[in-house]
Amino acid sequence: MPVLRCENLDKAFGGVRALDGVSLSFPGEGIVAIIGPNGAGKTTLLNVFTGFLRADAGRCFYGDQVITSLPPYQISRTGIVRTFQDLRLVRDAPVLENVLLARPHQRGERLLSAIFPIGVAAQERKNCERATELLDFVGLTSKSSALAGTLSWGQQKLLTLACCLAAEAQVLLLDEPVAGVHPQLIERILELLRKLRSEGRLIIFIEHDIAAVKQIAEHLIVMDDGRVIAEGEPAILLERPEIMEAYVA
């Protein structure tokens, strides 16, 4: 049964149709890549799925639940988290605090519990332990007290991945997870994504790095001009000249 799907999504910005009747369904687990030239609608699709943009028409579903009109924070709570192309983090806060921020159901996030913190310290300790485990998983343990803004670009990408995991998401929507990253770090990120896939998660990522797509994607979606122009096995699709021509164009 598809976990995440959309039907006939339309989204226009003035005269530009960023999404034009897009219908997709994603399985419960796997690694799916979305590629396409700039302006194809890839990030717009991500934004609509995660509630940061409202579609002009069409619907999105997570399981049986219609998520089209939900605000972003509610969509996140259903188990779908995303990263951003321009790498959003709390740069003036330590790395550990960024990961702690992502932990769900925090008692201390209620005002009264913040002022009268009964039971908050115990939960905070557990959250710290989990956050530290996640930083260890992505290889940032030594940076846990460093300010997030002092990390390298690639390390910040790893941090955003740790934040997604801290939110206990089943579905990860990653916007260009390896763009601008050193090749060594790319390998690490891809290895982490494989591990997450083996844990039964669904990873959907937008990328321009075809080599990375070839390495880990199990399913490929090609978009252009707001439409899905091809979908299928990466190895087969990426050999088709019209796909590469559309992509390069």
Binding site: T50, F52, P71, P72, Y73, Q74, S76, R77, V81, R82, F84, R88, L89, V90, R91, D92, A93, E97, L100, L101, A102, P104, Q106, R107, G108, E109, R110, L111, S113, A114, I115, P117, V120, E124, C163, A167
Partner: protein, 290 residues
């Protein structure tokens, strides 16, 4: 001595105002120019209940805080869709509206004449008559405000506020209902400002609109800037400096009329100098607008 005690009381009232504004502007990044309006709401509500309903001080103050918190919802819910400068302008507009109400709704507020005969504060069966007693009471208010803000800053709630300040979409993408946080902190900030207003009214036994103008809102913002936003002690320092420093001018030998106007010039100069050389204030974490 009485003069120094009076300055201490006023400084402590402004500590409460500055610390509560920092929760909104420093921690959450919502620069509001309406703090004096909530200060005034607390003062007027408390005074009216004390005079016309014989409400004891703590009850009248609590009512003032609730009124301010409720009114803050009328401001925050429509305004929080706005960002940065536009939000500040919206709160500025609200400040002007409230001042106009204080100044023109004569039947209730006394208009420009104000309200006199506000009874002295009575706490735990004791009526506070002396300035020393009010210094103690204001000190308690200031300590409570500092403790509350410090606890919030160190809590997961404060962590979300700072995330909102730095990158609200990031916080939203991680499942935080940022609107709820912003509305809540706005209401709390307004309620705390109202408590200071109530205290001021019962200490002074008289209030009028001239204490709750946009200039007072700007003064409180200046205290946060000069002391340092985002740190609990920055606004405390800012409040003390901006209340005490102009008073020192009285001892410089300037004529009274000149000394009074020098205060405004001094505030302006301090702000300009701080923005040029130390935008994060004396002990601040962030510059407002960074």
């Amino acid at each position: 001595m009485e003069y120094l005690l009076h300055i201490a009381i006023i400084a402590l009232c402004f500590v409460v105002l500055a610390v509560s504004l920092d929760l909104l502007a420093g921690q959450t990044g919502l620069l509001a120019l309406s703090h004096a309006a909530f200060y005034g709401l607390g003062a007027y509500t408390s005074a009216l209940l004390a005079i016309h309903a014989g409400a004891p001080f703590l009850l009248a103050m609590s009512a003032g805080m609730l009124v301010a918190a409720f009114v803050s919802l009328l401001v925050s819910i429509p305004s929080l869709r706005l960002h940065g400068d536009y939000f500040a302008i919206a709160t500025f507009g609200f400040q002007m509206i409230l001042y106009s109400v204080f100044n023109n709704w004569s039947e209730v507020t006394g208009g420009s004449i104000g309200i006199s005969g506000i009874p002295r504060a009575r706490v735990f069966g004791m009526t506070i008559e002396s300035r020393a007693g009010y210094v103690l009471l204001a000190g308690v208010f200031a300590v409570v405000a500092i403790v509350v803000v410090r606890r919030i800053a160190r809590s997961p709630f404060g962590r979300v506020l700072r995330a909102i300040r730095e990158d609200e979409p990031f916080a939203t993408a991680l499942g935080k209902n940022t609107t709820r946080f912003k509305v809540t902190v706005f209401a709390l900030s307004a309620a705390m400002a109202a408590s200071a207003g109530s205290l001021y009214g019962h200490y002074n036994s008289y209030i009028d609109p001239s204490s709750f103008t946009v200039l007072e809102s700007i003064l409180v913002v200046s205290m946060v800037i000069i002391g340092g936003a985002g740190s609990v002690w920055g606004p405390v320092l800012g409040a003390i400096v901006l209340v005490a420093l102009p008073e020192a001018l009285r001892f410089v030998g300037l004529p009274l009329a000149v000394a009074a106007n020098m205060r405004q010039i001094l505030y302006g100069c301090l702000l300009v100098v701080m923005m040029m050389f130390r935008p994060r204030g004396l002990v601040g974490q962030y510059g407002l607008g960074e």
